[in-house]
């Protein structure tokens, strides 16, 4: 992974020192709450329902064992012994004390980490494919470009006070695992007619209150023009994006109101003025890429006798292997998911003890690195196939081998009413309620791949609009109600979910989900996935079943 040199380290150290001084000024009354707010947000610090919430950046979701141990230390020392992994591949702490946040930033800086621009109206953490560098369907590893964008956007003097937050995702594979179509800018590595790699650029996607699928603004962008083109889009947005209404301030609204033709002409005009002055050097791409190519893979057989025996004779291992491991481009290796969705626990949470244990495990099994997925799980990207049985045993003993990745109980949820001051309704208890339908894991596996996403309010942090099943909490006269949508997806064929019907009361959600699953089983043809069935039949049969007695 990318290693800081003294320049990178100095910036992070100086930012931590600056934030310590800003916090001191606030506590001394030299800064008002209104003045301190954007400053603390740009360092990931929210004031939430119970306590401040600190969001720590995990650039493109990649962590070393040393960094994971530091996250465990912070959870233990400054929080209540756990952290919460987010849909943007970051980690949040829900219980730190404001006065101690500068100390936490110093801890982070000591392991080349920070909380820079994890909130606020600025360029946020650049996200990517959790299988980057190991996926067989990859054209090129997207992470060097994420790191280059991270550096370009860090403390960018012009774009710290944008109309609204700004999120960039980069994918380098055929299958889009980075949800590039629902980001302010999505970058997809592609080859042009001459076979040269560059970027397809999408703009104006996003979730939240007005979910919109991004549109292509440039089918092919040379790598050397990456930063100048990003800068052109950001400058147009910074000047023309709406500032009168925070709900209409994202770039997606500007693109929609301006029209993509006019918007792209504005960007191209701006770009033509600056493209020659901001060239990304090939040497810099090579320098950063080198840090992501340190793997010394062994030549190993594709299969392993012990693994084959267990697959044939041990149902639990076979289920885990099927659900929680995927192919690797290198024969004899697999990528292994750690599910952070054990039934009955808050999705995405991890204790300090689990973090420490996993840090030791990745040192032994996966080159000392781990990735956070945007579905709030973890990935050990480089595990030798022959070591899967012992890894499975170790993860099982830590309660980290729940074999449900990609299934109905692997839900994305926002923190919801218990933690978030924006939420209208609970998320985590709703997820746990749905999980109670699956005491029988065979029933879960029968349903196959289903993405269920839950948000506690229309801001949509749980990405409900792109869930195969989306659940949105709404407030109805002080009570928690839920709107259900079907047919959303953030993958290549991205789509927004269609509303099933009137919202249902909290105590009805689990029953409604059961009806949806039963309807799917009745309608399913062959090995169709839930999404394929919904796309084939439409939502009507589901509506009829769910609302038959209403």
């Amino acid at each position: 992974m990318y290693q800081y040199d003294h320049h990178d380290q100095t910036i992070v150290n100086e930012r931590a020192a600056q934030f310590r001084e800003q916090t001191r000024r606030f506590l001394a009354g030299e800064l008002t709450e209104d003045q301190y707010r954007p400053l603390r947000l740009m360092n990931g610090l929210y004031i939430q329902r119970h306590a401040p919430m600190l969001r720590v950046a995990i650039p493109y979701g990649l962590l070393s064992s040393r960094q994971l141990r530091m996250l465990a230390h912070i959870a233990r020392t400054y929080d209540r012994g756990y952290g919460h992994f987010t849909t943007r591949q970051n980690i949040q702490y829900n219980w730190p004390q404001l006065e101690q946040v500068p100390d936490i930033l110093d801890c982070l800086a000591s392991v080349q980490m920070h909380a820079i621009q994890t909130s606020g109206n600025c360029i946020r953490n650049t996200t990517s494919d959790h299988l980057a560098g190991v996926a067989a369907d990859e054209l090129e590893d997207p992470r060097p470009y994420c790191e280059i964008i991270r550096q370009w956007s860090t403390l960018h003097p012009e774009f710290a006070f944008l109309p609204r937050k700004f999120k960039i995702a980069v994918s380098g594979a055929e299958r889009d695992r980075a949800a590039t179509q629902v980001h302010d800018i999505g970058l997809q590595l592609v080859r042009n007619a001459e076979g040269r790699a560059g970027f397809e650029v999408l703009v104006g996607g996003g979730l939240g209150r007005t979910p919109i699928i991004g549109v292509v603004i440039r089918p092919f962008l040379e790598k050397e023009d990456l930063l100048s083109y990003l800068e052109a889009i950001l400058r147009v947005y910074n000047q023309l994006g709406r500032r009168d209404n925070k709900y209409k301030a994202r770039i997606k609204i500007l693109v929609k109101e301006t029209g993509i033709e006019t918007f792209s002409r504005l960007v191209e005009d701006e770009w033509n003025l600056i493209r020659d002055s901001i060239k990304l050097d090939a040497q810099e791409i090579e320098r950063v890429t080198r840090d992501f190519k340190t793997r010394q893979y062994q030549t190993l057989p594709t299969s392993d006798a012990q693994v084959e025996t267990l697959l044939a004779g041990n149902k639990e291992f076979a289920a885990w292997h099927r659900r929680n491991t995927v192919d690797h481009k290198q024969p004899g290796y697999r990528a292994v998911f750690i599910s952070l969705k054990p039934h009955g626990k808050p999705p995405g949470d991890m204790t300090d003890a689990q973090m420490d244990a996993v840090a030791d495990i990745i040192d032994r099994y996966s080159f000392g690195e781990i990735r956070v997925t945007h579905t709030q799980n973890l990935v050990l990207a480089d595990v030798e196939t022959r070591k899967l049985p012992e890894l499975w045993k170790e993860l099982s003993s830590l309660e980290l081998a729940t074999a449900n990745v990609g299934t109905a109980t692997d839900m994305i949820t926002c923190p919801g009413l218990e933690f978030c001051s924006l939420a209208n309704a609970a998320s985590i208890p709703v997820a746990n309620g749905i999980q109670t339908l699956f005491d029988d894991m065979d029933y879960l596996y029968d349903l196959g791949e289903i993405r269920i996403n839950i948000s506690g309010c229309m801001n949509g942090c749980g990405h409900h609009t792109v869930g195969h099943i989306g659940i949105l909490g709404v407030d109805k006269k002080g009570e928690e109600w839920y709107q259900i949508t079907l047919g959303g997806s953030s993958a290549n064929e991205a789509s927004l979910g269609e509303r099933l019907g009137p919202s249902v009361a909290r105590h009805e959600v689990t029953g409604v989900m059961e009806k949806i699953f039963l309807t799917f089983k009745d309608l399913r043809e062959g090995e169709e996935s839930f999404l394929e069935t919904v796309r084939r039949t439409g939502i009507e049969p589901f509506q009829e079943r769910v609302y038959e007695n209403h």
Binding site: I11, E14, F159, A160, D281
Partner: protein
């Protein structure tokens, strides 16, 4: 009144004229952007120095035709969260080639001065009672920058080593 200019605390020479009041002869005077565009040549000649004030919602490229007569462009920031002034500074320096004084005034935070300085803002006008010596420290909070800007012609990737 004292201001910070080019990293030093100095006495301000400028008068900011509101409305349509007559331009004082031989003075250093700023007017609003609308007035600048209709200001007769005769009036431009009676002042010793001419400047313009631009709000965040005004198109900065409107000053292009007048830049050869301008010694000062004031970016009237309000509220401090409105980041358009930052792009205005950059466009003035990099695209319109303005070499005179660019000043931040109005509602801005000490914590924004470093960014503004990087973009080519070289003077800062504060509300009364501000500790200017304290504000001077804002320029030295960072010793390394990733991006090229007015204070550093090359991005960090061409300066590593």
């Amino acid at each position: 009144m004292k201001i910070i200019k080019s990293g030093h605390i100095v006495e301000d020479q400028w008068t900011h004229l509101d409305g349509e009041s007559a331009l004082p002869s031989g003075a250093s005077v700023t007017v609003g952007l609308d007035r600048l565009e209709t200001l007769p040549e005769s009036e431009r000649q009676i002042v010793s120095q001419l400047g313009v004030r631009i709000g965040p919602d005004e198109d900065v490229t409107r000053v292009k035709a007048h830049l050869h007569q301008l010694d000062l462009v004031v970016l009237a920031m309000n509220p401090f969260t409105d980041g358009r002034s930052f792009s205005q500074a950059r466009i003035l320096r990099e695209q319109l080639g303005f070499r005179g004084e660019i000043r931040a005034s109005g509602d801005f935070l000490r914590d924004q001065m470093y960014y503004l300085h990087r973009l080519g803002v070289n003077s800062f006008e504060f509300a009364g009672g501000t500790d200017l010596n304290d504000r001077l420290k804002a320029f030295s909070e960072f010793s390394v920058t990733y991006q090229a800007a007015q204070d550093e012609p090359q991005p960090l990737y061409r300066r590593r080593g």
